[in-house]
């Protein structure tokens, strides 16, 4: 026994040294491989397409004559935060589109006067989208801004009440007249009742039907103009550069900026590699806003207690019949081009599809998807990895077969897209009533 014991004691240090050497060798072999390979030229050019510095200058909105008017934007900002625009005096646009949450609300489905049908999307960068709402049932920001004002589940007001509110508020009335000319005189209660508006509570609806077509038109004109000043404000809400953009800049100009590897760790780099490659995310999430603003069916399960949402196929029909669409009488688009509207895709090909959201506002916008069905990004990754059958229509995504580790890398990468808005802070607050009317460029 003692002889064996002494041999063992002699061998022990040898085993120890050999073991250490072996470990070092393993680390040496493994180490260079764990560093992500450099980006190829083709990959670099793809990265550049996602860079926020390549976000084009916002084109004018021909359907909204005051879209880029600063006074209109200030007016719109006041309206955006004004709870008087609601039926109970407690709900403003900002109730659901909260600045500190990237202009969404952190709920599965919005809660205002009632519960809305879908998840509150962020407004940030939405001026770039030809379509608004998850189902694209609106084709301009100004037209979109009108719906919640009259929706009984949202602000639950009516256009008659709103028009009178504007004409009775000195700042609103003054700015309105300056932008759009004289307001109609609403004092004649035989022509203009207290409350009136279509598709609302039965009494308001009846009051609306009792009005003459000419007065209805006058009222809808004022109503549309409120949407246009709200849109002038919303056009200012733009995403700012994120760590991702810094990284892309560093990769593209390796000589004169921070080394790229200090901006992204290897997990985030691998996540980005998956994003632009194997995971196929770029098919829909492309361009500097990481959205093609198109409609896709990705096989999400319906919200509990609801039938599957038909999405775009219904949105198209609503849009066609909307008096506030691009071709309608309240649009300022004089040439009647409205190409997006004219050439939109309709029918069963868009059944169950929803608009691709930008990925630049993920930070404050959970839960995700059109009904807020998925509460974390990890669940979103798993959903796309599985690409389940769609209950209606067909899921355009295909199963990815990625590992848990890879899904984690994708998620880490997505977090690098989060950044504060590039919009100046003064636009992100309820304007101080004492400064109303003081415009600074």
């Amino acid at each position: 026994m003692s002889r064996f014991g002494s041999i063992a004691a002699q061998i022990k240090p040898i085993i120890f040294v050999v073991g250490i050497c072996f470990l070092l060798l393993l680390i040496l072999l493994w180490w260079p491989e764990s560093r992500p390979p450099p980006w190829t030229q083709a990959e670099k050019s793809i990265l550049n397409t996602l860079n926020i510095t390549n976000l084009p200058v916002l084109k004018p909105d021909p359907s909204n004559a005051v879209a880029d008017n600063l006074h209109a934007a200030k007016f719109g900002q006041s309206l955006f935060f004004d709870t008087r625009l609601s039926g109970n005096g407690k709900v403003a646009c900002a109730t659901c589109h909260q600045p500190q949450r990237r202009f969404s609300d952190g709920l599965s489905k919005a809660v205002a006067l009632g519960q809305s049908q879908r998840n509150t999307p962020s407004i940030v960068g939405s001026a770039y989208s030809p379509w608004l709402y998850w189902d694209g049932r609106k084709d301009s920001q100004w037209s979109q801004a009108l719906s919640p004002l009259e929706d009984p589940a949202e602000q639950g007001s009516n256009r008659m009440y709103l028009a009178r509110l504007i004409s009775n508020d000195s700042f609103y009335a003054k700015t309105y007249v300056e932008l759009f000319g004289e307001l109609p005189d609403f004092n004649d209660t035989s022509r203009f009742p207290e409350n009136a508006g279509p598709m609302s509570y039965p009494l308001w609806n009846q009051a609306w039907l009792n009005m003459t077509a000419a007065d209805q038109y006058l009222l809808s004109q004022v109503f549309a103009n409120l949407g246009k000043v709200l849109a002038a404000y919303e056009r200012k809400l733009m995403p700012g550069p994120a760590r991702f953009d810094e990284y892309v800049n560093a990769v593209l100009h390796e000589d004169d900026t921070l080394p790229a590897n200090e901006l992204f760790n290897s997990q985030e780099i691998e996540g980005l590699r998956l994003f632009i490659g194997e995971a196929g995310c770029l098919q829909c999430h492309n361009g500097p806003l990481l959205s093609n603003n198109e409609f896709h069916n990705t096989g999400l399960l319906p919200f509990p207690g609801e039938v599957p949402d038909q999405g775009r196929s219904k949105g198209v029909e609503i849009l066609k019949n909307d008096p506030f669409n691009c071709l309608g009488p309240f649009s300022d688009e004089m040439s009647h081009q409205c190409q997006e509207f004219t050439y939109m895709r309709t029918g069963s090909v868009v059944l169950g599809s929803m608009r691709t959201p930008s990925l630049r506002n993920l930070g404050g916008t959970a839960p995700y998807m059109h009904k807020g069905q998925l509460s974390t990004l990890a669940q979103v990754m798993e959903h796309y990895n599985a690409a389940p059958l769609a209950l209606i229509g067909h899921n355009e995504a295909k199963p990815l077969g990625l590992s848990k580790k890879q899904l984690g890398q994708l998620e880490l990468f997505l977090n690098t897209l989060d950044a504060p808005l590039s919009t100046a802070d003064e636009w992100l607050l309820k304007p101080d009533s004492s400064t109303l009317g003081n415009f600074t460029e």
Partner: protein
């Protein structure tokens, strides 16, 4: 070999037993391949039931495994269904005929409302029919879909019996257990266990052989991938010849290079074999991305003949990078021809 044969036999028996219920589809819902069809008079539609809370996207043809929230979906095969009101009713199956209940049995019921558990009044659904019912209890039910004839006052009904949460397998699970047990006894008594042990010892050698066999395939696959990667860099050709060979088509985009996510217009130029412009043609456009199996995000339209063989096409938008195709159908008084234009963004 003997074992293999008996396993084969067992598997085929099992398969038959497992699939037999769908072969025996009853009422107005019938199985057709992987799909379920419902026949409502002369109308037909795909039919499926989901229980998303319990079993996510799993599809059921008729019988559903448990009570709870259930969604009925009809995707029309007969497009006329998109224009007619569809009425849907679920009643307790009190006909006494069970799975063989028919429309006549339903018509014989005096007070149908008393046994109705779900009713959706007639509505027109242009794209897809959906209905949701939360089954509070398990049991046997009858689904009744009623549709009006598009012109006449004729009504058509489909009746399909289905069960909720009731074990519809009958004696099948017991049969499967017995069959498996019998097989196991036969196998061990005939020395199968010994042969299995010998077989596992040689398995590792086989596995090496598999890798070696696969290696050429791996190389082949890699070279395919490389070929795919290199094709990304090839640029679009300047002109395309029509399928009959008699036309040449070129295009000019008002934005170059071709943009993503931006609506824009093209000018198409058509010329014949002699290089002469082709005037007064009608051009229709369809297309998309064959690799991703989807069409254009828009409906591009030829809006104007500009003269000199030039045609204005409006409403083109590409929404992702990759290979796109446009199928042009060109019609004049003299001929009809087709051209496939492919562009890579």
């Amino acid at each position: 070999m003997n074992i293999m044969r008996s396993i084969n036999l067992l598997v085929s028996c099992l398969l038959f037993v497992l699939y037999a219920p769908s072969l025996l589809a009853h009422g107005s819902v019938v199985a057709e391949g992987d799909l379920c069809l419902i026949k409502i008079g002369f109308y037909t539609s795909h039919f499926k039931i989901f229980q998303p809370l319990a079993s996510k996207e799993r599809e059921f043809c008729e019988d559903i495994p448990a009570s709870g929230e259930s969604i009925f979906v009809m995707e029309y095969r007969h497009q006329e269904l998109a224009n007619v009101p569809i009425e849907f009713r679920i009643i307790n199956n009190i006909t006494g005929k069970g799975r063989f209940a028919k429309l006549e049995d339903v018509q014989a019921i005096k007070d149908i409302d008393a046994i109705t558990v779900f009713y959706q009044p007639p509505t027109i659904e242009p794209q897809v029919f959906t209905a949701l019912h939360n089954f509070e209890q398990e049991g046997n039910f009858l689904g009744i879909v009623t549709v009006k004839h598009p012109q006449t006052d004729q009504y058509y009904s489909a009746v399909f019996p289905f069960s909720v949460g009731v074990n519809s397998w009958g004696l099948i699970p017991l049969f499967v257990c017995f069959a498996l047990l019998a097989q196991l006894i036969y196998w061990t008594s005939s020395g199968g266990f010994g042969r299995w042990r010998i077989a596992t010892k040689t398995k590792s050698n086989k596995r090496n052989g598999f890798v070696i066999k696969c290696r050429p395939m791996l190389i082949l696959a890699t070279s395919f991938l490389l070929m795919g990667a290199s094709s990304e860099t090839t640029r679009a050709q300047p002109s395309w010849v029509s399928d009959s060979g008699s036309l040449t088509v070129t295009f000019k985009s008002e934005i170059n290079p071709l943009p993503i996510n931006q609506m824009h217009n093209w000018t198409l130029h058509l010329q014949d074999q002699n290089g002469m412009p082709v005037a007064n043609a009608l051009i229709t456009l369809t297309g998309g991305m064959p690799v991703h199996n989807h069409g254009f995000p828009t409906n591009p339209v030829m809006t104007q003949y500009l003269g000199n063989g030039d045609y204005r096409v409006e409403g083109i938008r590409f929404h992702m990078q990759g290979d796109w195709v446009l199928n042009l159908v060109i019609t004049t008084v003299d001929f009809m021809d087709t051209v496939l234009i492919s562009v890579t963004l």
